[in-house]
Symmetry: C2
Subunit: 336 residues, 2 copies
């Protein structure tokens, strides 16, 4: 029996005699033979594997994103190769190169670098979909959360609720998401409260940086009556700082975040935030990627923006329901 016949038998090719197939199956089970995926994909030019390079693998945001990606990958029988760049250009390049030849397509989220770096580290032949990544729109299919609109909507809500001294906590300076959120917030503030210059404290998306920012704002001469953090983790840290400082949230200061990570509704007080359908972002991105892979010619290059939604919970209003499970999410939600 030749290795060709074995290969055919194992792959369920039709032109194999019943006896040969039986023998192969039996021997393969007995010996514990498992085909070498690397060799197979070298030959077939199919890896049945999708690569995802994310800024990080840790935390609820990425956990949700991975869940969305995994859900689609799984339904198509694909494995996931995950890597993270830790917001470092060199690590990003290394991660992208390490994927080469091991995946059928790439999902890349790199809010911290321009698409240029991607160009030199991803072969032209590798189908790629970008998520929340700054780029010129020429070359890549991309999905982006409506950071700008979401931030605007939250500012509108805060101003509409009577807040006038609204402070902002931003993410890392070079981060695309953070920059867009800041732009949306300052634009809305300029429109709604002309002449007022908001306090802006820089954070880095970690809870710790939110905690520090909260302390700074507490100590400031012109203490704000509302704080809008560029993500939920920082908003959380900020809540801790204020509570520890003896300030009531939302009694004295209202706080809002961005993302609506699962923990947002569980904390005390439940956190007002801009909801991003994180898992859906992952799902849509992979679906587009699969279309690109199968279309051979390539998908029409296109951008897509995902809408957000303002979710009002107790961290933003004094007189609200106290039970965490029954916050008035739907009643008070505002589609941006």
């Amino acid at each position: 029996m030749s290795i060709a016949t074995v290969s055919r038998a194992l792959n369920g090719s039709s032109n194999v005699s019943e006896e040969a197939r039986r023998k192969v199956t039996e021997a393969s089970a007995r010996l514990g033979y498992i085909p070498h995926g690397g060799a197979r994909s070298l030959r077939t030019r199919r890896t049945n594997c999708i690569g995802a390079v994310l800024p990080d693998l840790h935390g609820e945001f990425f956990s949700e994103l991975i869940r969305g990606i995994d859900r689609v990958a799984r339904s198509h029988g694909l494995s996931l190769l995950l890597s993270c760049s830790h917001s470092d250009v060199d690590e990003l390049a290394a991660a992208l190169r390490a994927m080469q030849g091991k995946v059928d397509g790439l999902l890349v989220m790199s809010p911290h670098v321009d698409a240029e770096v991607l160009g030199v580290n991803i072969p032209r032949s590798t189908p790629t979909v970008l998520m929340n990544t700054r780029h010129d729109g020429e070359r890549y299919v991309s999905l982006t959360v409506d950071n700008y609109g979401g931030a605007r909507a939250m500012i509108q809500h805060l101003v509409g609720s009577g807040h006038r001294r609204i402070a902002l906590i931003t993410g890392p300076e070079e981060n695309f998401d953070s920059a867009e959120r800041l732009r949306g917030a300052t634009d809305a503030l300029a429109e709604l409260l002309p002449g007022v210059h908001p306090q802006i404290v820089r954070g880095d998306f970690t809870e710790q940086s939110g905690f520090r920012a909260g302390r700074m704002l507490l100590a400031s001469a012109d203490r704000p009556d509302a704080i809008f953090a560029a993500n939920d983790m920082m908003a959380l840290g900020c809540v801790f700082a204020l509570t520890e400082g003896g300030v009531s949230v939302p009694g004295d200061i209202a706080i809002a975040g961005f993302d609506d990570i699962p923990v947002a509704r569980c904390v005390n007080p439940p956190l007002s935030t801009v909801r991003v359908r994180i898992a859906e972002l992952g799902e849509l991105a992979l679906e587009r990627l699969l279309r690109g892979i199968n279309a051979a010619g390539g998908d029409t290059i296109a951008q897509q923006t995902l809408g957000t939604q303002v979710i009002v919970r107790n961290s933003c209003r004094a007189a609200a329901a106290r039970l965490p499970m029954v916050d008035a999410e739907l009643a008070s939600s505002v589609v941006s």
Copy 2:
């Protein structure tokens, strides 16, 4: 110039003339050439990639675990290939087989199946480390959290605090972690409160199942004065159910969980729990695996158990500090 020279130049081989190296580097950059990882590893028998097959990729527990694994992988310049079995035997088998030839070693967590399934789906030649997986200890290096001891310690704490009607919420029946935690709790209860038969409600590790269990326990004739859930997510759901039902935690009923996921200290009230050093579990597992890969001959087959720690927060005592950041973790912690 031959492809051999190109290969040598690109791989930094010493026996290449400066001029050849320069030419290759230049041309490679200009053309955007990136070596094919699959082909390279077929030849070198090194993939520089580690596979991890987990029950799930979602949620804070796995997020932490992945962080630990990633930290070590990164420090060794290795990529991560992640896959999840969704607690399904067939998916587990598929995931393991898909890894074959794509990774240098395997990290497997499969608390829901016996090691037998692993035996037939992992080639003998693939270095493997098991985490929290039931097995006979013959073949695999394994790391396991001290579920039994942790559960015992928490029951000791609850009984020591005066609780007498302690209800348990378990995880999935066939889950190894869950089974061990249940065994530890019931053993400790039998010793400390002989003759008392605890109420046991089955859950499945999800927040939702904890919520349902909480409702059931509220409605029960013999309402407990403490509830010990087999993980934090269920404890969380349970807290929500009680709070919604107008019951005070911990005033009327104390609640404790297991894992100490990051959110545990942020919820209201902060959750008492059994701390598992989740990220460290991932780190240690990968470090052992790397030792196994490099030892060629294979590591000494061995088991290792990770200790746990009882963390007492507000969900377990009426008169405690109210500020989330200053819970008396260290003061009241008990090493199991």
